[in-house]
Every structure is written in C-alpha cells, then in structure tokens.
Subunit: 198 residues, 2 copies
Amino acid sequence: MTGIDFWYEFASTYSYPAAMRIEDVARERGVEVRWRPFLVAPIFVAQGWRDSPFNIYAAKGRYMWRDMERICARLGLPLHRPDPFPQSSLLAARVALALAPQTRAAFSRAVYASEFGEGRQIGERDTIAPLLDRIGEDSASVLERALSAANKEALKAESAQAVALGLPGAPCVVTGDGEVFWGNDRIEEALDWAQNAR
Amino acid sequence: MTGIDFWYEFASTYSYPAAMRIEDVARERGVEVRWRPFLVAPIFVAQGWRDSPFNIYAAKGRYMWRDMERICARLGLPLHRPDPFPQSSLLAARVALALAPQTRAAFSRAVYASEFGEGRQIGERDTIAPLLDRIGEDSASVLERALSAANKEALKAESAQAVALGLPGAPCVVTGDGEVFWGNDRIEEALDWAQNAR
C-alpha cells in the first residue's frame, strides 16, 4: 500500500484540522498515513524565531486566527484559542512517539481536540494522562516510556530529520518520492501526488 | 453582480498563477474581479523585513520554488525564476494603476507572463512599453500618466489601504463583506464565499 509521512507539531494551529481529517482523505485514495510527531522549534530557531511567527508578525497572526475560524466552521470542528499560545508541545510529542502506530493517531487526535477544541493545557500530565486512559492505554507506563532517555533522543532525531527534509513548518506531508507539501490546505494535493506516483 | 477585490503584487511569486487563473474561476461563479495592484513592501517593512521572506528564510524559499514548479506544471504555465528575485515592481504597479479596469487585467497578466514565464526584467521601461503597445495602448502616454505625481500618490494610497485591511501578504482576495483570503490556493474558497454571501 502506498504510504505518506504526516509530520505534525502539537502546538501548530493548522496541524489541528490536518490531523482531524487526514485519515479520511487518505482512505478515499487508498493511501496509508504514517504519523510523525516532531518539534517545529528547531526549524523556527534556525530562522531566527524564538516564538511562533504568528505571535511575532501581527498581521500574519490575525489572519491565521480568522482563517482557522473559517476552516473549523467548514469542518464542523470546535475552535478554542489556546491560552497561552503556543502551548508547550514537548510532553505530548514524547508520548505520541512512545506509542505504537495504531494508537498514536487516536492519541494525537485526542490531544488536538483537547487543546484546540476545549482549550486545555496540553503541556500538563493531568491533561495528557486521562487521554491515554481513554484510548485504552496504561497512562503510567506510557508516560514512563515517553520520558525515558531513549525516547527523548528519538524525538530529537525525528525533529532533526524534519530539518534535514527541508520542512518549512508544520504540518507537512512527505511522499515516498520525497515531495514535501506544507499545510492543511495541501493534503489533497499531497495524497493525489502519492497516489499518482505509485 | 457580486464583486471581489483581487490584491496583487508584481514581485510576488504566488500572484503569478493567481493572476493567470482568477478570471476563469470567477467567471464560473458569476463573480466580478476588481484588479487592485499594490506594493507589498510596506507590509513587509512593518514586519521588520527588508527583503522577500523567501530570501530571508531559506527553508521557506526552497519550499516555495518547488511548490511554484508543481503549481505551474499543473496549470500548464511556464516558470522562469526571475533574476534578481524579487524584481522591482514599482513601475509595473504604477502603470497597472494608471490603466482603465478593462485593460488593467490584460496588462497585468502580460507582466506576469513576461516576468515569471520568460524571466524578463519588469522594472525596466524597455520591458513594460512593448507590453502596453501589444494590448493596444499608447505606451508613451500611459507611461507619462503612470509616472505623474497623482498616480504615484494613488499607488501609495492603495498600498496603505492594503495595510489597513490587514492583508498579510500577496495575493489576497477581499470579499464585499470584508473577508480576507490569502494565497493562490484560496481563490476558490474566496469566490465561493463571495457567491454565498450574495
């Protein structure tokens, strides 16, 4: 089965609608989605940014929030602007990476729904642990695995690979032949590309 | 007839495919396009940029050029990367604004085709004058009007209005009810919005 890599960052606004809908778009086309959580911070730091560009550049930020309102309304997704924004995504990313592929997608969608649908603090264990329990995982043991030195290193390696692939931000879809598609609004195009390159 | 404002910048890469296809997308929906040339520089300067963000931020720049190749290939448009990039867009914007609405669209498409299709220097009168002659305008008199103090001020006012509208970049479509849609990839969404708001 043709597969694509879906690179996503838990603090990223546009990763929210992308994560909530990518499996549906992929299923229609018979494409398999590999969920690749990563930290976008190294990419931003390489560009000289110490905060979200949506906070640094006011016009971009105002536009993005209105755009998110329209996107979420169209998809029937609730939108609660996180405070503070961006949220700390380190814990959620470590946990997602520590999970098996089958549960990683369900956990990731639950994090996004909690963060952008309900406005919860995703940097806190008290937010993350119940999400794990709800998808049938033992939160204590998953958290222990997530916070192990090996898993921390694995997440660093993933984020370094995102830089090496030239990802300009999150979310991105990378096809088997190495094409990068950036943004929630490019998911269809990316999956069409993957399907045609088969 | 429902109308939208199409705000475009001659130096802007994504404005090229947008300008070449927006009339077709609008015609299908029975929406009228008002062509609004402006200078994006004041927006960039307000964000602290003295150059194109695609030059300042290497990962964004590399991504954009590959993305443009894919977009142009799909639309059957030639793509010649302008050198230098960005081109000086001041003369072309002044000329476009000095033209009547009926010829402004044809001239604007001719400029984009020359810049991004053939790699010509659009900051030079020797490039611009023949484009005017070819669409049936008297280039000498249009250039005189374009370089008048009144027209220079008019272009400044348009660019100031773009800032006031909160445009985050170019191209943008602004609907009658004030919604801003940024990017070549949002043209369909913008025109659907205009059509539904009717």
